[in-house]
Symmetry: none
Subunit: 207 residues, 4 copies
């Protein structure tokens, strides 16, 4: 694996009148590396072009602006690999999931990518809309599923709003991320406990 081999002198050949998937791959790879190594402020399209040995039109043919590219980098970055914990306990599941997310964010610097995405999106109303309507709901899906399993078990108080609980946990995570203030195990535990105690039935809470 030549990740980090920079610059990669692998000359990609044209495939004619069809997009070369290798280009897309190289661009995302390069973009991710730059975000990891230089952070948002060092992330320029020209830097991506240079590192990927690609060109601006090739980038803009696929993503409509910097923001879309960053989002693609984030989504390629392996969130999918986060597995849904299922211990039978809502609290344990949430702690386990958030711990995994923060580990991923900090170890691979995917957190930097996410921060960059949220930041960049602010420059473009269409991207804010995408953030609101697509990106955040997609990110919420696993958390929602965890809560819904608890609901099926009858652990959730009637009248509680699961979406709000999800949003509380995502919100605190995002705020800490934007402030470059990673959540540690204790932070996660505290946050989860409040939310769980706030949304669960007596029985579950005491378990």
């Amino acid at each position: 694996m030549n990740s980090g081999a920079f610059p990669q002198k692998v000359r990609r050949v044209s495939l004619g009148a069809v997009r070369n998937p290798a280009s897309e791959e190289a661009i995302l790879q390069a973009a991710g590396e730059i975000l990891e190594e230089e952070g948002y402020s060092g992330f320029t399209i020209q830097a991506v072009v240079s590192r990927a040995q690609s060109s601006k039109p090739t980038i803009y043919r696929r993503w409509r602006n910097k923001c879309s590219l960053i989002m693609a980098v984030y989504e390629r970055g392996g969130e999918a690999t986060l597995e849904m914990p299922d211990t039978g306990s809502l609290e344990e599941d949430l702690v386990s999931y958030l711990t995994a997310v923060w580990k991923w964010w900090t170890s691979s610097r995917a957190g930097e990518v996410l921060r960059s995405f949220v930041t960049e999106a602010q420059l473009d109303p269409a991207s804010v809309k995408e953030l609101r309507e697509d990106f955040i709901p997609r990110r919420a899906r696993l958390l929602r599923a965890i809560f819904q399993r608890a609901a099926l078990r009858g652990d959730i108080k009637s009248g509680s709003c699961v979406d709000t609980a999800v949003a509380l946990l995502m919100g605190i995570s995002l705020m800490r991320l934007m402030a470059d203030h990673a959540m540690n195990a204790g932070d996660i535990k505290n946050a989860v406990r409040i939310v769980v105690e706030g949304i669960c039935t007596e029985r579950e809470r005491n378990s």
Copy 2:
């Protein structure tokens, strides 16, 4: 009130070798108006200069970069006028406070200012540090005070982390703000309820 009288042809006189507070005032006023009217993407230093009838050096003499200026605009913007509610009920106090905050954010577009600040801060590590260590704690103070009054009343479960409760409410607000998705009364009520139920004693919760 001449807010909006643009450009104000009020010639500020020099005060000699001492900074003229009127300049600072005019700059903050102009910066605030631009953020309100044009949003972050229309906010340039030159635009501030033009509207305030000031100059770049005068701005950079006081604030080290755009980010610091935006922060000053936000802090001047009247958060101080938010009064601390005190109904005797934690839940009502929180709802009341958050409702006031969101009303302020949306009506005066202070929300736009805050979004701009958080965005701009990402370009400069020193500003992120300031966001983390000064700005957010300062913003948290009123919420903390509300919780602490409840604690004095004995309403908070022992072992609960008040700071985390505060962070949950600030986090969800920030996330909704960054996504340009204002919280309405129901959203606020749902969020507050979960946090209150999660942190309060049985007695208080049932009250």
Copy 3:
């Protein structure tokens, strides 16, 4: 001819990854016009940008600073069109040449360009070096050639330094130019006479 048609709304098309000579041409044209119309003190890069419908990076991509640009304007400005006089008389040739130079300088305001170049060069050691090693020798070439033809005719006293004679005539011209004190026919005649009498053989002088 649309010189002076300002701004020319001729949209220059890109030539792909190669510099468009039309841009260079438009920039030099605009720069020359500004120097003619506004003089050195009105000559700013932004003014050139506006008039040439170009951009700062495009200018700085070609010339490393204002000084180089001004030099290019001067060299493009038609000195080449000065023809070498050849009457068989050194004195007549020199008078004729210098008269042509001063006419060019004053009528087209190329003199303003030259003054600006010499002035601007003083801000940058590299430009002074260029002035000394390239620009002045290039300017000296025609005068040298005139003297050398006289030398071939045997009109120059042995032991005389032709280069110094050239420098005397260029020097007085430059000084008068920098003092905004154009040389008239009499001035030129006087200067040429001294130099010719100082460098020529008796025979030639009396001819």
Copy 4:
């Protein structure tokens, strides 16, 4: 002598409603040192203020702009000390004088001051006028006197223009100065010889 003692912590006290000559002196001293040490590009009013422990208004009260200040520095710089040679030979006098001038220019870097003055003058029509009508004629006086002594001896051909001869020698010197190309003994000798042979009677020339 504290020239170079920088910064001089000699606190000049105000003399009340009268100009303190020590200030003028300190300013000229500081300005001269900066031109010597940093050259024209490092010469700013603020630098003079700092080194002279003075202030901008004090400078602008005496000189109407940077250019006037530089001229004052040049004139204070000791040209007066150049003594008029009088050997009885025009050629020897001229060589001796020009040699002294160039020695002064290069050793004390008064040349830098003169270059700066000519450069700065180009930014201001009034200064160019002063250069033309006052400064250059003043500089020409000694050279003129040398020629006039020769004329009294009957060495100058009738019909020759002494002013032009002076201008030729000043012009070549200025050109070489602006090009940062000091004239050495041979250069001076060559130039003087041409001018002398061009302007003198047979008898003198052969002497």
